[in-house]
């Protein structure tokens, strides 16, 4: 059996670069989740009342529910198009470890759908009257949390490839697994907004990220192989 001329690092970079470059050719796909996120979060002050104390109470919950929903919205695009045009078959047969390629793919997906949420966080925090010194913790928590959501979501997306339109099933599958992210993300944000140390919740988010980054690509690669059968 022959070995390939392309190393692991180069292969991951190619997969990553391909997805990022494709996304830039379809700009609306990238902007959709972040616009959705900002819209949900900024509609609350308009719908409820602009009273600062009320907004501060609901802000952590609103931000994290919006982030969760917007991540779910973006998940459908992670693998579906590649399945339909045969790219996923070719990735499986590239001779490179599929889990590693899916890691690169998920990373690209996070950069395109999760990172914009982190960058939009200051805007959302201002709209919800969050104190300025809580923004840093919010961004860090979103950075860790959206990472977990992308990697857990990749397993869900891979598992639902076999169904014709798997988006409802995908949400049902991923939501329970995403609950800890919602809980600890909102907790970290809440603590920071009260001026208390949020280290504990952030560390738990970090631990979840470490766990999902290492295990999810393996699970996703098995799920992809099953879906291709």
């Amino acid at each position: 059996m022959s070995t390939l001329g392309t190393g692991l690092g180069r292969a991951a970079w190619l997969v990553f670069e391909r997805d990022v470059r494709l996304a830039f050719r379809r700009w609306e796909q990238v902007t959709h989740p972040v616009v959705f996120f900002v819209m949900i979060a900024t509609l609350f002050p308009l719908a409820l009342s602009p009273e600062t104390s009320l907004l501060r109470d609901i802000a952590p919950g609103v931000v994290w529910v919006a982030a969760l929903l917007s991540s779910l919205l973006a998940l459908e695009t992670l693998l579906r198009a590649d399945l339909e045009d045969g790219t996923l078959e070719q990735l499986t047969l590239s001779g490179q470890p599929l889990g590693w390629l899916l890691f690169a793919k998920t990373l690209a997906h996070w950069v395109l759908s999760g990172l914009p949420l982190v960058l939009a966080a200051p805007l959302v925090a201002t709209a919800l009257a969050a104190p300025g010194d809580a923004v840093g913790v919010l961004m860090l928590a979103l950075f860790l949390g959206t990472g977990v959501l992308s990697f857990i979501g990749a397993v869900g997306a891979a598992l639902t490839l076999g169904t014709r339109r798997g988006s409802v099933l995908l949400s049902l599958l991923v939501l329970p697994l995403a609950m800890p992210v919602l809980i600890f993300g909102a907790r970290a944000t809440d603590l920071a907004m009260r001026g208390e140390p949020a280290g504990g919740a952030l560390m738990l988010l970090g631990a979840m990220l470490a766990l999902s980054v290492t295990l999810a690509p393996i699970a996703a690669s098995t799920a992809v192989r099953i879906s291709l059968e």
């Binding site: 059996m1 001329g5 292969a11 078959e89 499986t92 047969l93 059968e229």
Partner: protein, 210 residues
């Protein structure tokens, strides 16, 4: 079929079920280096299932597949590095040009060498379209780009599922030439086509599925 000692690919007693349908019923065959096989049979006879089994997408209930004498289920990625698969879908991104598509697809296997993409595309008759997005290419032109990917994969085993779909006379001729060259260099080509095909330059052995 006579067993040749030089058999590179060996299928032993492949049994494959799809739901309640027994698709491959104890199929055994040997392919030596430099051989081409034309898998024939009516629609639904299991031609695609056979190729997908050989590519490792489908797992046969029984039987095994040997490549170079080693069971392929022991080293899936190593076997994949030796094979190039052309499925029903062309695996092209509509927003990318043929050159970009090839860069990402074959780059996963080998670092590109200057000019090879262009020369293979020209050989398959789509050199003039290499910088257009795949979206605007015709079905036959997209098929040719997908075939260019197979050629550039530098794999010994080609699994081509209906490679002649959408190709015109010149396309069939170009593809036959490419397959003939691959086989002459010691490669293996296994292709499906439901009809009898006149392929200039190659005389594939027939494998009938019923």
């Amino acid at each position: 079929m006579p067993e040749t000692p030089a058999a590179l690919l060996e299928a032993e007693n492949l049994q494959l079920w799809r739901g309640t349908r027994h698709v491959l019923r104890g199929l055994s065959f040997h392919v030596a280096a430099g051989e081409s096989i034309h898998v024939r049979g009516p629609n639904g006879a299991g031609k695609t299932s056979l190729l997908r089994t050989l590519a490792g997408f489908l797992w046969p209930e029984e039987g095994r597949l040997l490549w170079n004498g080693a069971d392929v289920s022991q080293d899936r990625d190593g076997f994949a590095a030796d094979l190039a698969y052309l499925g029903h879908e062309n695996a092209l991104k509509a927003d990318f040009t043929p050159l970009e598509n090839l860069r990402y697809a074959t780059g996963l296997r080998h670092p590109p060498t200057a000019g090879t993409f262009e020369s293979v595309l020209a050989r398959l008759g789509i050199g003039a379209q290499q910088d257009l997005p795949a979206r605007v290419l015709s079905a036959g032109q997209r098929r040719r780009v997908a075939l260019a990917r197979v050629v550039l994969a530098r794999a010994r085993l080609w699994l081509l599922d209906e490679p002649f779909t959408n190709l015109d006379v010149l396309g069939v001729e170009a593809l036959s030439g490419v397959i003939a060259q691959h086989v002459a260099a010691g490669g293996i080509a296994i292709l499906t086509a439901h009809a009898d095909l006149e392929l200039p330059g190659i005389s594939p052995r027939r494998l009938e599925l019923t």
